[in-house]
Symmetry: C2
Amino acid sequence: MHILIAEAKPMTPLQLFKLLADETRLQCVLLIAEQGELCVCELTCALKQIQPKISRHLAMLRKASLLLDRRQGQWVYYRINPALPDWALSCIQQTLAQNSTLLSPLQQNLCAMGERPQRLSACCA
Amino acid sequence: MHILIAEAKPMTPLQLFKLLADETRLQCVLLIAEQGELCVCELTCALKQIQPKISRHLAMLRKASLLLDRRQGQWVYYRINPALPDWALSCIQQTLAQNSTLLSPLQQNLCAMGERPQRLSACCA
DNA sequence: TTTATATATGCGAATATCCATATATACTCT
DNA sequence: AGAGTATATATGGATATTCGCATATATAAA
């Protein structure tokens, strides 16, 4: 889905920081950066937030080309766009590397990798 | 001024990104990071913004311990707090290093270093 | 002490952002 | 086709942020 027609203009620092300046979006970005790829319902479960809220924030991150998405069956998986400028990837990676404690409570609500059940809602409390 | 009584809690990623998510504050931070130290009226001049606006944003950055201030005569100089966590300094430095073109129009409105006149308003258009 | 320059802040208005709900779309399986 | 699950978006209201203006304070020079 979401076919890339032409290369978008590179992200500006102001754009990046505005995207990361919301707790829900920041948690999504850091958790995705750490896990490599996550679908909407996994994030919904991990962050304990309602699905439209997660989806709306992911849409913002996708439209800004910070995230890429990939549909697999009924699930849509999001990942960090590896084509982001170096400084932007660096900001995300450095923040992630030195703030791991912020993610641990979220990781506990994730299914173990490679153990995703058919119905992901079974993961969530 | 602004005596530090006790060590403040380290900045969270969300706090940093919220601070950098405003164009005026971002320009102030990047320009200060590049120049080392700047006073309010230099920033007012460089950014072509009214003084209360600059002062208010600098106060936010100072209260969050992102900037330190130092009064010298009638001027108050702001600098990056070197005690910021590594990931935060890294975000600022990486962004600065790879987005120098954003600063060039602002630098042109700065007095050359070491050439500050008595009346700084003489710098400004 | 008066005047000028530099900086900080109180306040209301304008603007931007975020949220919950409802609803639409897409896919899977039977 | 119909039911169940997953994802996306539209809408209107609540909240937060930012702004300009006026003004207060501080330092310096006359």
